[in-house]
Amino acid sequence: MTTNPLDVPDVTEPYQPLPGRSRTTGFLEGPLRLGTSPSATVGPYLAIGLSWPDGELAAAEGTPGAFWIRGRIFDGAGAVVPDAMVETWQADPDGGFPSPMDPRGAASYEGFRGYARAQTSTGEYAVHTLKPGRVPDGEGGLQAPHIDVSVFARGLLDRVVTRIYFADEAEANAEDVVLRGLDEGQRATLLADKSDDGYRFDIYLQGDRETVFFAV
């Protein structure tokens, strides 16, 4: 028997709850599990809908300490993917997130948005940002500086997710709960290397060097 899972009762009160506050007010009693909307590819024309003049700037131009992360995306034949979009999300240098969803409270850091989107139409993406601080891993330790990355492209029906870590953070990397769960070869795919104006992080969608992708 099929019903439309999107045919839900009208809601009459705005949604307010944030972490640390009760979620019971004004909401349905008990779980109501709706099926999520299915993902689809961004297709080849993503530039129409997803281009922002300041998209690449997780940190504003001129922010002290900011650098560029640049990289290419390779397909299974070793060809550069010219129609992908990379999105990044990360903590600020103090380990805070400009997000009210952080149970520690939303942080703010001068010039820092935390989020960037960049297309690969020139052959590589570029994101202007700051080195993220270490944030709690929820198990009593601290994670190594890392950036969450989504890759969207024609030929990907859902985004693929990876993480950028930094090759020059060896000590923190050795303590990182995510990296510790990977073997040496896998770890290597997640390390950004120092470059002229920041770091380089290439992404391999397939092949011997396939980047470690995560299910979140």
Binding site: N4, D83, P103, Y115, P136, V161
Partner: protein
């Protein structure tokens, strides 16, 4: 009664609680049986692009349960009406597309950025890669942006996009669709998708549509809405978008001041 039954995630599942008291929600993942795969053989471009190795499970931590705040500052008043560009009216069947953005617990997602893009009435995108010999429309650029209201509602005026050929196989035509991009509030909720129109005769041969598991395909199809159809002006289609929700476990305390 898919809509009212519990999902495969039992009641009482909680997020992470660390020794230091950091309590994080856990965003539920759509089961494989109803989640679009990254790769799908009939969609040929996935062949060299979709990763071949099984993704590594990443427990959701602070970076995953937070996300950018993107709203009104990303949107101009004119972004909600795609039919008016360059001082004139776009050609095509005018339609009002509306609906709500919810999470899978049924909670509306307010103040959320919704970005859309689409082909024109003839099935042509204003993009250099698109060489389909259908005319461009000087009064249509195919870009729209809106922000959901306090009840998670969105709406925009546009024209119905045309079907277009795309070379995946002989006589491959994409069913009419509008591309949507949504953030929600957390990295885990990020969604890029496509909205379809009811009863499109092209569904059967479209591998992008059919990559959605059969049990979930109806979720990608809008419904004609006579109620919102504007007399003497525009047809209306309703499409609700559901992002991943969290488990329903209430937070234990109101004053968990010792969070990490």
């Amino acid at each position: 009664m898919e809509s009212l039954t519990r999902g495969p995630y039992g009641p009482g599942m909680t997020g992470t609680t660390s020794p230091s008291g950091l309590h994080l929600p856990r965003y539920l993942r759509e089961p494989d049986a109803t989640r679009t795969p990254v790769g799908f053989p009939d969609y040929k471009s996935t062949g060299l692009r979709a990763p071949l190795r099984t993704p590594v499970d990443l427990p959701q931590r602070l970076t995953e349960i937070t996300g950018p705040v993107l709203g009104e500052d990303r949107v101009l008043p004119t972004d909600a009406d795609l039919t008016l560009r360059n001082g004139g009216e776009a050609v095509g069947q005018r339609i009002l597309v509306h609906g709500r953005v919810l999470d899978s617990d049924g909670r509306p997602v307010p103040d959320a950025l919704v970005e859309v893009w689409q082909a024109n009435a003839g099935g042509r995108y204003r993009h250099v890669v698109d060489v389909f010999p259908a005319p461009l429309d000087p009064h249509f650029d195919g870009l729209g942006r809106v922000v959901t209201d306090s009840l998670g509602r969105y709406e925009f005026m546009t024209i119905k996009p045309g079907a277009y050929p795309w070379g995946n196989h002989h006589n491959a035509w994409r069913p009419a669709h509008i591309h949507f991009s949504l953030f929600g509030r957390a990295f885990t909720q990020r969604l890029v998708t496509q909205m379809y129109f009811p009863d499109d005769p092209l569904f059967g041969q479209d591998p992008i549509f059919n990559s959605i598991p059969a049990a979930a395909r109806h979720r990608a199809i809008s419904q004609f809405s006579l109620e919102r159809t504007v007399d003497n002006w525009a047809l209306a289609f309703e499409w609700n978008i559901v992002l991943r929700g969290t488990d329903q476990t209430p937070f234990e305390t109101e004053d968990d001041g010792d969070v990490a």
